[in-house]
C-alpha cells in the first residue's frame, strides 16, 4: 500500500504496466526526459530508455498518427496530449483513423492505444488549457472515453485502458491531480470501463457527475440529508460506452435527475444522458431531468473564470430547485 494522488497513481500505473508489457511505448511533447509538464511520465525514460519513452516533435498528428502505426505493428502506445485543448491538430487521426481502423479492415488491423490528456478548468490557466471536450470524443463511434475522479480509479481505469483492445481516450481532471490522496494497493488493479460508481445511495434525486465535479457534487450534497434531501450520487467514470443501467435504475427510484458537467451546455454530454433517461425511464420522471453545465461560451481566462466554474452552491441550489418541482 502507498498513498497516491491521481497524478502519482498515473505515474505508478505506467511504471507497473511498462514493466509487465514490453510493447508499451510512452511518448508525446516533453514526455521523455522531464516526464511531461505535469510529470505524469516522470522517470519512465530513465528507467525504460529512450526507445520506450521519448519527447516527440511538437506535432499532435504525428503523435496520434504515429501511435496508430505503432499499434498496427504490435506496439501498445500510451501517448500524452499536453492539454486537451491541443488535441485538435490530432483530431483528424483520432476520428478518421483510430476510431475506424478495426471497422475499416473488418478486424484485420486494430489500434489498441491510450491517448491521455489533462482536461478541465479551475486551475487559472492560459487559453486552451481549461476545456472540457469529452463530447467531441464520446460522439465518435469506435472510441472509448474514460474520466477518473480518484487515485484508485485513475489507476484502475488506466490499467484497463492500457489492456483494452480498442483505442481509449483517457481524460485526466487536472484540477484534481494533486488535490487529495488515497491509499492504493501496490499491485495491479482494474476498474471496468463502462461501469459507473454510486458514491452515495439516496432516494430523492440522482446526481450524475464525473471528473472534478464529482468532488464538487460531494461537497454540495453534504448536509442535504439534514434538510431531508437524500441524494444518490453517481460518478460516471466512463463517458462512452457509459453506464445507462446505473443511471436508469437510479432514476427509476428517485424520479429526478441532475447531470452536472463543465463542458458547455448546448450539444453537450448532459443532453445525451437526459435523452437516454427519457427513453429508459420516462414514466418515472417526477421533474424535468436537468443539466447544470458550463455556459455556451469560451471558457474565460482566469480573471473571469469564476463565472464559469460550477460551485457546490450552484449544485445544491439546482438540487433544491428540482426537489421543489
Amino acid at each position: 500500500m502507498a498513498v497516491e494522488t491521481i497524478l502519482s497513481a498515473i505515474n505508478k500505473t505506467l511504471f507497473e504496466q511498462m514493466e509487465k508489457d514490453d510493447s508499451i511505448v510512452v511518448f508525446g511533447e516533453d514526455v521523455g526526459f522531464e516526464g511531461g509538464v505535469f510529470r505524469a511520465t516522470k522517470g519512465l525514460q530513465q528507467k525504460f530508455g529512450k526507445k520506450r519513452s521519448f519527447d516527440s516533435p511538437l506535432a499532435e498528428s504525428a503523435i496520434i498518427g504515429g501511435a496508430i502505426g505503432m499499434a498496427v505493428n504490435g506496439l501498445k502506445p500510451v501517448v500524452e496530449i499536453q492539454f486537451s485543448g491541443f488535441m485538435f491538430p490530432g483530431y483528424n487521426q483520432i476520428v478518421t483513423h483510430a476510431a475506424r481502423y478495426r471497422n475499416r479492415t473488418r478486424g484485420l488491423h486494430t489500434v489498441p492505444m491510450v491517448i491521455r490528456m489533462p482536461y478541465g478548468g479551475g486551475i487559472r490557466a492560459l487559453e486552451h488549457h481549461s476545456e472540457s471536450l469529452e463530447t467531441l470524443f464520446a460522439s465518435i463511434p469506435g472510441l472509448k472515453v474514460v474520466i477518473p475522479s480518484t487515485p484508485y480509479d485513475a489507476k484502475g481505469l488506466l490499467t484497463s485502458a492500457i489492456q483494452d483492445p480498442d483505442p481509449v481516450i483517457f481524460m485526466e481532471p487536472k484540477r484534481l491531480y494533486r488535490a487529495f490522496k488515497q491509499e492504493l494497493p501496490d499491485k495491479e488493479i482494474k476498474v471496468q470501463i463502462g461501469k459507473a460508481k454510486t458514491l452515495k445511495k439516496g432516494d430523492d434525486i440522482t446526481v450524475v457527475a464525473w471528473g472534478s465535479l464529482v468532488r464538487e457534487a460531494e461537497k454540495a450534497i453534504k448536509g442535504l440529508e439534514d434538510e431531508g434531501i437524500n441524494v444518490e450520487l453517481i460518478d460516471l467514470r466512463t463517458i462512452q460506452p457509459y453506464d445507462k443501467e446505473a443511471i436508469a435504475e437510479s432514476v427509476k427510484k428517485t424520479g429526478r435527475l441532475l447531470v452536472v458537467h463543465e463542458a458547455v451546455k448546448s450539444f453537450g454530454p448532459g443532453a445525451e444522458i437526459i435523452s437516454m433517461i427519457n427513453e429508459e425511464a420516462f414514466l418515472y420522471l417526477e421533474a424535468p431531468p436537468t443539466r447544470l453545465t458550463g455556459f455556451v461560451i469560451t471558457i474565460p481566462l482566469p480573471k473571469g473564470e469564476h463565472h464559469f466554474i460550477i460551485t457546490p452552491e450552484q449544485i445544491r441550489s439546482k438540487i433544491k430547485e428540482l426537489m421543489a418541482f
Binding site: G66, N73, G142
Partner: protein, 361 residues
C-alpha cells in the same frame, strides 16, 4: 549513392530506361532477376487491364466510384517489387497495381471499389495497411509502423505512398519529420502524377520539385522518372537499405502522370488539354518496359497479347464473383466498431432487427 548523384536541387532526374525503353547508362541498371522483372511487368499489365475494366464496369453502372491508376503502374509496382515480404506497404488510395504486387488479390481490390469494407481485409502476412482516403494522413501511420519495426529490432521497413497534392498537407510534414528525427526505417514515394483532381502541381507548391522537400527533414531526396520501373526499383532498393542501416527515411518523387480521370466522378477534359495527355501517353511505362523485356528476350509480342487476354478474362471473372457478393450483412456493419459490441449497440441492432421483422423484411 543515387541520392547524392541526383540532387533534386540541381533538378536532375534519375532515369535508367528512357522513354523508348533503351538503357540510358548501363552502370545504373539495378540487379533484378528475370523472374522479378517478369513479375513486375505482369503486375503492371494486370493493373492496366484491371483498371480499364473497372472503368468499364463503372460506366455500366456495376462498379462504384473508382480511382484509376492508368499511367502510374511503374511508379507503384517497382517500389513494392524492391521490398521484402516482411516489409510493410502503406497505400494512399491509387495503388491497385502496387497492392497486387504485395499480394493483395484483385478480388479484394475490386470488392473495395465495389463498396465493401471486406476489400480492405487482406491476409495478415501481406502487411498491407488499408486504403487511406484522408489525404496524407497515412504518412504518419507509416512513420509509426516504421518506428515499431525498429523498436522490435525487426529488419523491416515501411513503404508509404502519397500524391503530389498530399505533399501540401500538414500530415505529410508531421509524418516525415517524425520518421526522420526518430530515424525510423521509412521509404516515402510521392506519386507525382501532376494533378490533384483539377489542381495542377504548380498550384500546390512553389517548390521547384517535391523531392527537394526532403531537405526540410534532413533526409535524402531524389527525383525519379516514375514511368521507369528500373529507376524506381533502384531508388527504392537503395532507400530501403539506408533505412535498415539506421539512416532513416528517404523521399522519392516519382514523376508520372495520371492518364485517366481522377475518379470515375471526374471529367479531366474540363481542366487539362489533349497535348499534355499525348505528351505523357508517349511516356507510358508499360510500352517502355515491354520494349525492354522484349529486347532482353524475356517476353515476346505474342506472349504479351496472350497475357492481356488472360488478364481481361481474369478481370471479368473476378468482377463477376465480386458482384455475386451482394450486400453487406447487417451484423457486419455493427460488429467491428469495437472488439466487443457494447450493450447499447447490441440494443440498437436488436431493436432494428425487431423493426425489420415487424415490417416483414
Amino acid at each position: 549513392m543515387l541520392t547524392k548523384k541526383f540532387d533534386p536541387l540541381k533538378k536532375k532526374i534519375f532515369q535508367v530506361l528512357d522513354h523508348e525503353g533503351n538503357i540510358v547508362d548501363e552502370k545504373l541498371v539495378p540487379k533484378i532477376d528475370d523472374e522479378t522483372l517478369l513479375k513486375m511487368y505482369k503486375t503492371m499489365l494486370l493493373g492496366r487491364v484491371a483498371d480499364t475494366k473497372a472503368l468499364q464496369y463503372q460506366r455500366q453502372g456495376r462498379m462504384l466510384t473508382y480511382a484509376p491508376i492508368k499511367g502510374q503502374e511503374a511508379a507503384q509496382v517497382a517500389p513494392v517489387a524492391a521490398l521484402e515480404k516482411k516489409d510493410w506497404m502503406v497505400p494512399a488510395f491509387r495503388e491497385m497495381a502496387g497492392m497486387m504486387y504485395k499480394g493483395a488479390s484483385l478480388e479484394k481490390l475490386y470488392l473495395y471499389w465495389y463498396g465493401n469494407e471486406e476489400g480492405n481485409h487482406f491476409d495478415e502476412e501481406l502487411r498491407i495497411l488499408p486504403i487511406s482516403v484522408p489525404i496524407a494522413s497515412q504518412v504518419n501511420h507509416a512513420a509509426g509502423v516504421a518506428y515499431a519495426a525498429k523498436y522490435k529490432g525487426d529488419k523491416e521497413v515501411a513503404l508509404v505512398f502519397v500524391g503530389d497534392g498530399g505533399t501540401s498537407h500538414g500530415e505529410f510534414h508531421e509524418g516525415l519529420n517524425f520518421a526522420a528525427v526518430t530515424e525510423s526505417p521509412l521509404v516515402v514515394v510521392i506519386q507525382n502524377n501532376q494533378w490533384a483532381i483539377s489542381t495542377p502541381r504548380e498550384a500546390q507548391t512553389k517548390a521547384q520539385n517535391l523531392a527537394s522537400k526532403a531537405i526540410g527533414y534532413g533526409i535524402p531526396g531524389i527525383l525519379v522518372d516514375g514511368n521507369d520501373p528500373l529507376a524506381m526499383y533502384a531508388a527504392v532498393k537503395e532507400a530501403r537499405q539506408n533505412a535498415l542501416d539506421g539512416q532513416g527515411p528517404t523521399l522519392i518523387e516519382a514523376l508520372t502522370y495520371r492518364l485517366g480521370p481522377h475518379t470515375t466522378s471526374d471529367d479531366p477534359t474540363i481542366y487539362r488539354d489533349d497535348k499534355e495527355l499525348k505528351h505523357w501517353e508517349a511516356r507510358d511505362p508499360i510500352i517502355r518496359f515491354k520494349k525492354y523485356l522484349i529486347d532482353k528476350k524475356l517476353l515476346t509480342e505474342e506472349e504479351d497479347e496472350k497475357l492481356q487476354k488472360e488478364y481481361n478474362d481474369y478481370s471479368n471473372k473476378t468482377f463477376k464473383k465480386v458482384e455475386k457478393s451482394g450486400l453487406v450483412p447487417l451484423d457486419d456493419v455493427f460488429n467491428y466498431t469495437y472488439e466487443t459490441l457494447p450493450k447499447d449497440l447490441q440494443k440498437q441492432l436488436s431493436d432494428y432487427k425487431t423493426y425489420l421483422e415487424s415490417e416483414g423484411k
